[in-house]
Structures are given as structure tokens and as C-alpha cells.
Symmetry: C2
Subunit: 324 residues, 2 copies
């Protein structure tokens, strides 16, 4: 059976179930032809996942696909955007149909959940990697950005932090546990983070700045501070930790440090002016996502980690691909 590039693409990627009315022309031509609704801006983000850097080469392709698409959707969530279309560039060593079938299963399951249509891409031969570009809509002028925060605004995060790092430490064999159920839970949280799409949309008009936590809170919050020309005091005891993380890492300080530097969390970090705090509580009820206030912005620069009123001298850093 001939299995050329075009057959491969056709067989796996043209079978998706999502079919949006704003897609005039999808996969199979030189370009997709797409229609952005009147009154909306287009939000676009691109992320790559590289085998050996972002996932292990023998990782379950269902999970790799989920992670690749979820990390991109998370960028839309951070802008308060509604997902619409996705392009997928897949580089693989050869036409491994079993891998491709499983990858598509994970990819389309998440895409269907958010009614996102695959509109194009490329399949090439080479070391395994995945680059995804997502497109979404946001009402004109209402996107959440990294700038716009002011001194006195409160700092929040959605969900819990640190589970992804705990799962990664299990994957890499850096830490272990005899509790198989705990292990399964933390691995699942590493691979199957849910992008906070509804929460992001709910934050429009309420948050003064927002982003998603992909390189670690301590690193990502820094971007908001730089853009807004501010500093922040973060109360480490308020960092939301899951019961599973506390079980996995019983040293409270280490668990907290893990949460502060854990990348690929895909929770949102955002800032809220005092007068919007009431509206926030109401807005998030509908998204089913908890948000925890962990500190406050101040004039100055940098992040001060505080516990019991004392500044801590923890030296933490986020994830940097090119760090030595």
C-alpha cells in the first residue's frame, strides 16, 4: 500500500468532525480561507513542542497531542479569546501510522471540545516536533493583555499550582512515590492540563492584566510586572496547592517552591483592581474555576516573596530552554 505524504494527511486530518461556518475553505488547498466576525479582533498564537525538550520521545501520542493543543489554547484563554481555528505542523521521522492515529485521537478530542477546526498545516520528515498556531476571536478592544496593571491591583491565580512540576519529576525519575494512584493523578495533571478558556472570557472587563503560566509563576508574573512597570508582593502561604501535591511533597516549603517555579501549568495569573473584586467572584462562578488571591502589586520592580510578614530569600527561576 502506497503511503505518501498526501495520503497520510488526507486520511488522518480530513476526518475531523468540527465544521465551522466561518471556514470558507479548509485543508487541501494552498491556504485556508477564513472569516473573522465583524467587531472582533483576531488573536493568534504559536507554540512548538519538541521531542526530547518538551516531551519524552516515547510519550503517549494521545497525551502529547493534548499537551500541544492545550498549551496553545491556553494562550487564547490568557487573552480572553474564543478559540476558532488551528493549524498543525507535524514533523516526524517517518509515516508511523500507529503514532499518527493516536496523536489525532488526542488532538481532535480536545479540538472538538472547544469547537476548534483544523484548517491547515504541514507534514514533514525530520526529528519529531509539533508546531501549532491557534486563532481565536475577542471583541474589539476587550482582550486581556500583560500590560495595564496598576499599583494596588491584586494578584490572582486560577486552580492549583505545582502539580505539573510534580508529574514531570515523576516522568524524569527525579522523584518517586509508591502510591500508584497519586502517581497517575500527577502524571495526568502534567499531561492533561485544561486551558482556562471560560475563565479567560469571564475575566474580560474585570482583570487589568493576565497571562497563562507556562514557564513558572515566578517567571511569568515577571512579564506582567515588566510591562506594567511595577513590583509585586506574593504571600507564599497563599499559593494554592492541591492535596495531591502536599501528599507527594510533604515538605511544605519545597512544595511551595515547586508551585512557584512549575511550568506548563496553564493556569491563568491575572491582576484585578480593588473595585472589580466583587465582580470577579460573580464572574468566575459560571466558569467553575476557583481563583485565589496571592498578593498585590506595588510600585518598584521585581517580586518579593513574603511569609508571616518576612521577606524570603528563596532563589527560584522559571523554565528557560536555552539556559546552560
Amino acid at each position: 500500500m502506497a503511503s505518501n505524504e498526501f495520503d497520510l494527511i488526507a486520511r488522518y486530518f480530513e476526518q475531523q468532525k468540527v465544521s465551522r461556518r466561518d471556514v470558507a475553505l479548509s485543508i487541501g488547498d494552498d491556504c485556508a480561507l477564513l472569516e473573522v466576525p465583524a467587531g472582533s479582533q483576531l488573536a493568534v498564537s504559536t507554540d512548538s513542542l519538541v521531542s526530547g525538550t518538551h516531551f519524552l520521545s516515547d510519550a503517549d501520542p494521545v497525551l502529547v497531542a493534548h499537551k500541544a493543543l492545550a498549551s496553545n489554547l491556553s494562550d487564547l484563554a490568557a487573552m480572553g479569546a474564543t478559540p476558532a481555528w488551528v493549524s498543525l505542523a507535524l514533523t516526524m521521522p517517518g509515516p508511523d501510522e500507529l503514532w499518527l492515529k493516536a496523536f489525532c485521537e488526542g488532538f481532535f478530542a480536545l479540538a472538538e471540545y472547544y469547537n476548534v477546526q483544523l484548517v491547515g498545516g504541514d507534514t514533514t520528515k525530520g526529528p519529531l516536533s509539533i508546531t501549532i498556531t491557534v486563532h481565536g476571536f475577542v471583541p474589539q478592544g476587550q482582550a486581556l493583555t500583560r500590560s495595564g496593571a496598576e499599583a494596588g491591583d491584586w494578584v490572582y491565580v486560577t486552580g492549583n499550582l505545582g502539580d505539573s512540576a510534580a508529574g514531570l519529576s515523576l516522568l524524569l525519575g527525579e522523584k518517586s512515590t509508591d502510591d500508584e494512584s497519586l502517581k497517575a493523578t500527577l502524571l495526568e495533571r502534567h499531561y492533561k492540563a485544561q486551558p482556562r478558556i471560560l475563565a479567560g472570557q469571564a475575566l474580560r472587563g474585570i482583570a487589568s492584566a493576565a497571562l497563562d503560566i507556562s514557564d513558572g509563576l515566578i517567571s511569568d508574573l515577571g512579564h506582567i510586572l515588566e510591562r506594567s512597570g511595577l513590583g509585586a508582593d506574593i504571600e507564599v502561604d497563599k499559593i494554592p496547592l492541591s492535596p495531591e501535591l502536599c501528599q507527594f511533597e510533604s515538605d511544605e516549603i519545597k512544595a511551595c517552591q515547586m508551585a512557584l517555579s512549575s511550568g506548563e501549568e496553564y493556569e491563568l495569573c491575572f491582576t484585578v483592581p480593588e473595585q472589580n473584586r466583587g465582580a470577579l467572584d460573580t464572574a468566575l462562578v459560571h466558569s467553575g474555576v476557583k481563583a485565589t488571591c496571592i498578593g498585590q502589586l506595588r510600585s518598584g520592580a521585581g517580586i518579593r516573596l513574603v511569609r508571616d510578614g518576612q521577606e524570603l530569600d528563596w532563589h527560584l527561576h522559571g523554565y528557560d530552554h536555552f539556559a546552560e
Copy 2:
């Protein structure tokens, strides 16, 4: 000097000169925020170039960048679209600043020529590869697609064919020449093909179908035929060959076969109904691009190569990444 991921991105990618009014928010946030003009559809295409598959690992980064962006812009050209924005996902083994500087030089030179703004992307660690997503505009309902051709329509190509394959054969050491000037010209044509943006725009309302030649005419024309449910007779003596190709490959038949299967040409192949042939001649004058009629569509299926009224039994095929 610390050289982390964010510094690298900031230093090289935030210094571009293009600044478009339809870009509300560019590099540096979770997403770019973009505005599509009223009455236009958005045309989107993604292409990957992988070291070792699409270019040699020691290739000049200026040329690699040109080729990567040109191949994507060529997809917009094939739809008759006007380029606007580009996302760049760059995977590289380490923070090689010399390489990055040269890459940006090639990338931004071409981007500036077409007034295309880099609006986002990702920089990751891994085997060298480049994935680009381009965005362009096309007036509602006027895009050139691969379907829509009818029996009797004439088949055209822009420019000359085969020079890219000749340059590649030099690069790979499959063929050689003592003529250094000829060598330089063919290598330049392999690496620095110009996307036929103006020609593509001029073909709106004139061509019945179009695409760009990325995998070889014999392969790409097949896509138009499949989509339109037709066959084609191609007169091989009409395939436009450059004087340099004829000098490099003096065997006329081999030169012609090279032209028919040469990928990465980034010329347009398009079909024109009889009644639009006059309009075509007028329209292309302004683009400065020649177009040559090489055959005609007929009912049936497949491509018949014809010479002096005789059908040829040449067995040619286009480029397939996954072919054994």
C-alpha cells in the same frame, strides 16, 4: 552575558521595521491581536522547513530564512492574496547568535519587501527547523483555488521551471559544472525564488484554478486535476526553460524532465478559460511576470505528456517526504 530565551527573542525579533496599522498587539504577549479588513477573507498557510530534509545543516542562514518565508508567501500568491502577517516558530540546538543574526537578515529583508509583519512565534531548543504561518487578505469570494477548472481551460505556468532542481543537484553533488557563474545563478534560483504575489493578485477573476509549484509541476498539477475531476494534455516542448538550465543540462529531454518534476519552484500553475486569455495577457503585463501556455484540460483523468503529437511514456514523479 546572560542569554536566555526571552533576551534572544527580544533582541532579534522585536527590531523589525514593518509596523502595520492592522496589528493592534504584536510580539510579546500571549497572542497577537490583529484586524482583518471588512470585506476580506483571511488566507492562512503553514509550512515547515527541516534541516536535513529541506536544507543542508550548513546552509547559509540568510538563504534558509528567505526560502522558508518565500515558500509560505508563495501559498498566499497561489490564492491571489495580499500578505499581511507572519508567525515564526524556530527550533534550534542552542542560542547561536551568529546564525540567528543572519537568519533574521534574510527573513526581515523579504518580509519588509512585502510589508509583512512578524506578529509572534516561538523559540525552542531542538533539532534545527523552521515553521512559518502566513496570513493574508483576499477580497470576499475572489480567492483562486485548486478547484473550479473546466475541460477546455488552458494550462499556464509563470516564469521558468527546473532551475531550482538544477541548483539542488549542484548542492547535493549529484551534478556539477565548471562554470562558476552558472553555478552561482542556479544556486541562487534554488534558494532565492521570488513568490509570485503580484501575479497571483492579477489572476483574480481571470484564472479558473491555481496553485504554486512546490512538489513539482507533474505532482502539483495533479491536485488541480483531482479537485476539478479532469485530465490534462501537456506539451513538453512548451515547458519554459531558462537559458541557464539548457546550458547546465544540454540533453533537452533531461532538462525538460527536470523542469516537470522540479519542486520548490514557487512559480504558479494556473488554468484560464478561453474567453479570459486576452484579459490574462493584459493583467500580467503589470506584474512583470511572464506566463506560458503549456497545455489544455480535458475530460478524463491524469496528465498526458505530449510531444509532436505523440504521447510520451516518461515516468516522472514529484517530491514526497515520506517516500521510501
